[in-house]
């Protein structure tokens, strides 16, 4: 055993940030061609793939919504059959919540984390690729049901007994159950990767009080996912067993409990709501201050509010079940807990307002999206408080008021920050700025269309229009409001279309962006645009929350060291630091591009396809292939420092 294999003193050197380092490039860059497409473990490629794929699902879910809006634009229309309408609203909900809202934020975080944390990759690069492939294949699996006319049809929360085999004998619900379990694997491995990346791959000096809020948001969401996703996966397993293997978990005739599904689903569902908004709030907390030309007001309260929201979020699931006949005591407890959520939400809201108020806002398109989000957040929050109060909830349950609320929350808190975030980070991803002129048109069309489309839903809900009806009788006074909603949703869709046009045009003809076009404070803006494959020529050393604004803010005499730091060029390497105070701890050997993730994802798909086809062979081969792929993946490699050196060396 010679000591140089066990330990090495990393070289510390200086480098100009703008220099593309050829040696690092050769080590880190994905090779071109189909092999690169299938094998790449570059977190930036994976992040962009995640965002693009999520947007494709957003467009599909959007088209589904527009077809439904046509059907509802007037009473007694027959554009869709009831069965087709059921499939459409179920797929719309599933798509937007599971295939767009969660994954798009994973995309941002996959792209940004190592750049924000000062690392060369995530802790588990291959796991990162795996989580993308499973997301893609689970989405395809689910959508394969559509052309067959067998799409899930029991709503995105799929309550039994309607989803049980007696009332829903086709494979529709099985697509839902298996698709959700499959997708859950992607969410889980992705979350594990974020958590370990945070614990291990921060640059030296990046202590937890210096983390960008986006990192806090994604970290909180990841821990939430690790604890919550098993609830829904288990619920899906139990219902699948009921449907296919004759168990009686939800079967009323055998004293099964349909409410058990609701408990398990919402124990997952409510934390999940926060998992798909907290990282988006992080986008706002990080990007908005750049355009206000000052640091975020109240960093610590906002970070704590993020964590507090998730913790309380685990104790509010019953507020989705107020109308199921719970004991008064439970109603009171869960209603109170739900209202407590307003406190951390208000903390963040006032922090953003104060940041704008005391800053010097620069009215870019990104700023418009991020600041208007605050308005939508407040509207969605207030309607949330209303539905959190038991007596009002009894009145509002299963009406369009709830539909309005959840769209204000999901579009207001997810889509608006996400599009603002794309305007903000597009230059880093592509090296070009997005068009500002078209950007204004894009923003105002979306903002007006959204409010025109969704605000009236509150009113028609209060008038008593139930959700999930494929049509309604004339003379109820709902026609005009529904027509306005339909017009608004089409205006909103045009806005999304303008965004797409702007994106495609800017990709070709956008103004070249330098490393830091917005004069922003965080580490990702210290590297060239687009970011090189290895991220950083040297691993930087961080001395504050705003490494690029230190001279200006002059909060302390210490300065971050961006051009002098750990070099690490003996193969794919990055620095591991200690969990609490981010001191150098170990040199991580990182795996390179590999077929293992895509092969494992395909093996798992085979397992799920086998289950839906009731094919023992296909399932069996899928299981065996999965086990084999995992074994090959985990086989200890000398290159990664995972096994002993032979004695004779």
């Amino acid at each position: 055993m010679n000591s140089s294999e066990l330990g090495q003193a990393p070289r510390i050197m200086s480098a100009s940030e703008s220099v593309i380092d050829l040696k690092l490039k050769a080590i880190w860059e994905t090779r071109p061609g189909i092999r690169g497409v299938l094998c790449s473990v570059d977190h930036k490629r994976i992040g962009i793939r995640y965002i693009v794929t999520a947007f494709v699902f957003l467009f599909m879910g959007g088209i589904e919504a527009l077809i439904m809006r046509l059907q509802l634009s007037h009473s007694d229309l027959k554009i869709l059959s009831p069965e087709a309408y059921d499939q459409l609203f179920t797929m719309h909900g599933f798509t937007m919540i599971f295939l767009y809202a969660g994954p798009v934020l994973s995309g941002f975080s996959n792209y940004l984390w190592p750049l924000l944390l000062g690392s060369r990759d995530m802790a588990f690069p291959r796991l990162n690729a795996l989580s993308y492939w499973i997301f893609l294949l689970a989405g395809i699996f689910l959508y394969a049901s559509f052309p067959l006319g067998l799409a899930p049809n029991a709503g995105w929360f799929n309550y039994p007994p309607y989803s049980s085999i007696s009332y829903n004998p086709g494979p529709n619900i099985d697509f839902y159950l298996l698709g959700l379990i499959f997708l859950g694997i992607s969410t889980t491995v992705g979350s594990a990767n974020f958590l370990v990346s945070l614990l291990r791959t921060r640059a030296p000096g990046m202590s937890i009080n210096r983390l960008p809020i986006l990192v806090w948001g994604t970290l909180t969401a990841s821990i939430g996912n690790l604890l919550a996703v098993p609830a829904v996966s288990l619920a899906c397993v139990l219902l699948f067993m009921d449907r296919q293997f004759g168990t009686h978990f939800f079967d009323v005739e055998q004293h099964g409990q349909p409410l058990l599904w609701q408990h398990l689903f919402w124990m997952f569902g409510h934390p999940w709501v926060y998992a798909i908004v907290l990282p988006a709030l992080g986008i706002v907390s990080d990007a908005l201050p750049t355009f206000c030309r000052r640091p975020l007001v109240g960093y610590t309260p906002v970070a704590l509010a993020t964590v507090a929201t998730m913790i309380v979020g685990f104790g509010v699931w019953l507020h989705h079940m107020f109308a199921t006949g719970m004991p008064m005591l439970s109603l009171a407890f869960f209603s109170a807990a739900s209202l407590v959520i307003t406190i951390p939400s208000a903390v963040s809201t006032f922090a953003w307002i104060a940041t704008i108020w005391t800053g010097k806002p620069v009215l870019t398109t990104a700023f418009l999206f991020l600041s208007s989000f605050i308005v939508l957040f407040v509207i969605g929050g207030v309607s949330g408080v209303m539905t959190g109060a038991v007596p009002l909830d009894w009145q509002l349950t299963d009406t369009y008021f709830v539909v309005a609320h959840l769209h204000y929350v999901l579009i207001g808190i997810n889509v608006f920050p996400v599009i603002g975030g794309i305007y903000y980070w597009f230059p880093k991803m592509t090296g070009r700025l997005m068009g500002e002129r078209l950007g204004r048109w894009n923003f105002w069309t979306m903002f007006i269309g959204f409010n025109l489309g969704f605000f009236p839903m509150h009113i028609v809900g209060l008038m008593g229009m139930p959700r999930r009806i494929y049509t309604y009788a004339p003379g109820l006074g709902w026609d005009t409001i529904n027509l306005i909603t339909t017009v608004g949703s089409f205006v909103f869709a045009v806005g999304i279309g303008l965004f797409l046009v702007n994106l495609l045009v800017s990709l070709r003809r956008g103004r070249p962006a330098g490393a830091n076009p917005w004069d922003a404070p965080t580490l990702e803006w210290s590297v060239p645009s687009p970011a090189p494959a290895y991220n950083f020529v040297v691993i930087p050393v961080v001395a504050s929350r705003h490494p690029l604004w230190e001279d200006r803010l002059n909060e302390s005499p210490e300065r971050s060291s961006l051009s002098r730091g750990y070099r690490l060029v003996q193969g794919r390497e990055t620095l591991a630091t200690t969990v609490l105070d981010a001191q150098p701890d170990l040199i991580l050997k990182m795996p390179g591009d590999s077929y293992a993730p895509v092969v494992l994802a395909l093996a798992l798909s085979m397992l799920f396809v086998g289950l839906i086809l009731h094919s023992l062979w296909c399932t069996g081969i899928g299981v065996a292939a999965t086990a084999l792929a995992v074994l090959v993946w985990l086989w200890p490699q000398r290159r990664l420092g995972q096994r002993a050196e032979p004695a004779h060396v």
């Binding site: 055993m1 294999e5 066990l6 330990g7 003193a9 990393p10 510390i12 802790a123 588990f124 594990a192 370990v196 291990r200 690790l226 604890l227 919550a228 996703v229 098993p230 609830a231 996966s233 288990l234 397993v237 139990l238 067993m241 004759g246 168990t247 009686h248 978990f249 055998q254 004293h255 099964g256 409990q257 058990l260 408990h263 398990l264 124990m267 050393v541 210490e558 300065r559 060291s561 002098r564 750990y566 620095l575 591991a576 001191q583 150098p584 701890d585 170990l586 040199i587 991580l588 050997k589 074994l631 985990l634 200890p636 990664l640 420092g641 995972q642 096994r643 002993a644 050196e645 032979p646």
Partner: protein, 200 residues
């Protein structure tokens, strides 16, 4: 300007026991898998609280096979602990190979006894909610045991191939955490399904 933290110091390279990413990774696995069992036992107690009459089906479950079997699983964990602590860490190859083998054999015994226990039940997975939840909870655990046995088998092969020495045996440390987790979960399942019904 002070060179914050940038020092010429020698750092270990690659996977080192508790410093390896895999060590952190397996704890995230334990976290999320624990959650699965929490939700499973929630379902068990929820169904129990809503049941009318027949719970547990066929009377209070017998400890005749389950209690000794729990001890077998604990011994298996102990053997693996020994393989790591007193085998791998001290470079004692015989103890390393012996410990993993004993753990593997005891694990297989546990699985076989568990299957036998299933056969002795007077009810099946189709017999009402109790039958369903009993077999699903113990089945989930047994599936984890099977995965754990495959892990132990891989570790044994790698140990035979000489992949582990005094300094480098992170895969063993990581695999062992999973196996200990499977054992601890069994104790909780055992307490919930076999001991708790005796408390009335």
């Amino acid at each position: 300007m002070s060179e914050l933290g940038v020092r010429d110091q020698s750092l270990p390279v690659g996977s080192f026991g508790r410093k390896s990413s895999g060590w952190y990774g397996v704890w995230t696995l334990v976290l999320t898998e624990s959650a699965i069992f929490v939700y499973l036992l929630f379902s068990y107690f929820y169904l129990a609280s809503q049941a009318n009459g027949d719970w547990p089906l066929g009377g209070i479950p017998s400890l005749k096979l389950a209690a000794p079997n729990s001890i077998i699983l604990l011994l298996s964990s102990a053997a693996l602990l020994w393989a790591e602590r007193s085998g791998a860490r001290r470079g004692q190859r015989l103890r390393l190979l012996g410990g993993i083998t004993i753990a593997l054999v005891l694990g297989i015994v546990f699985a076989v006894v568990q299957l036998r226990e299933w056969q002795t039940k007077v009810f099946s997975i189709h017999s009402g909610t109790y039958g369903s939840i009993y077999f699903v909870v113990t089945g989930f655990h047994l599936a984890h045991v099977v995965v754990g046995l495959l892990v132990l088998l891989a570790l044994l092969v790698w140990a035979v191939l000489g992949y582990f020495d005094r300094e480098r045996h992170a895969p063993l440390t990581i695999g062992a955490i999973y196996w200990h987790f499977v054992d601890v979960v069994w104790l909780i399942v055992f307490a919930s399904l076999y001991l708790a019904p005796r408390l009335r």
